[in-house]
């Protein structure tokens, strides 16, 4: 399932996938895979993404 909340949060911060990937120390393709729902990140990466986007885990990764 696509993670549209992550994509929206990234766009809200005006960051490209590549820029977010650099902030989280991962490859651009990994961010792309998470947004497309092709990859489930570990909790460590989820936290890194949340810190980079100033969001909580609930904001980005909790399904309503």
């Amino acid at each position: 399932m696509k993670n549209l909340k992550l994509k929206a949060a990234r766009a809200g911060k005006d960051l490209s996938q590549d820029q977010l990937a650099q902030l989280c120390n991962v490859s651009r393709q990994t961010i792309n895979a998470i947004e497309k729902g092709d990859y489930n990140p570990t909790i460590n990466l989820c936290i890194a993404i949340c810190k980079a986007l100033d969001k909580t885990l609930d904001d980005l990764f909790w399904e309503q």
Partner: protein, 165 residues
């Protein structure tokens, strides 16, 4: 004592030590998804190697083998290496996250073409001392060409993804 073979053994030993050391150092260069897919690529490559060896030995046992056993084993290894490379490239797990694909695809192309040319030169020039001189360079060349083509296809897919982003 053959010093050439001894030096070759030392180079291989040094290579193994380097790979072990580099692997420990480069863990941070690959992110968690890349490590996952590299693991899967190794598993698939190992399974394909075992499958190839099974076919080779089966044909050999049934006296249907039209090839030398050692060449068949080397070709099996090249096939499994190719499968590893293609799977890892298609899942963005071949290079560390900081390395760019395009310079490496050029490097692979040059090495591949040099190997294929070397094999053809041995084949048609009659300078081959054994069939290894033809089969090995051509196999490595084909591996390089496949890797190069996969890199180019993947870089196009990546570019398309970036544009759509």
């Amino acid at each position: 004592m053959d010093f050439t073979k001894l030096i070759l053994c030392l180079i291989i030993l040094g290579g193994v030590a380097l790979v072990c050391f580099a692997d420990r150092k480069s863990v941070k260069n690959f992110d968690e998804r890349q490590l996952l897919y590299r693991g899967r690529a190794v598993t698939i490559a190992f399974a394909s190697l075992l499958l190839c060896l099974f076919v080779v030995l089966l044909l050999n046992t049934m006296n249907l083998a039209w090839f030398d056993l050692s060449i068949a084993v080397i070709l099996s290894m090249v096939i499994s290496l190719t499968i590893f490379a293609v799977y890892a490239i298609l899942h963005d797990a071949y290079f560390t996250r900081l390395k760019k694909q395009v310079p490496f695809s050029v490097l692979f192309l040059v090495v591949a073409l040099a190997n294929v040319f070397n094999g053809i030169r041995h084949s048609f020039g009659g300078s081959a001392e054994s069939v290894y001189d033809i089969v090995l360079p051509v196999a490595v060349g084909v591996l390089g060409l496949v890797v190069c083509a996969t890199l180019l296809i993947k870089s196009r897919i990546d570019k398309k993804e970036s544009d759509e982003e």
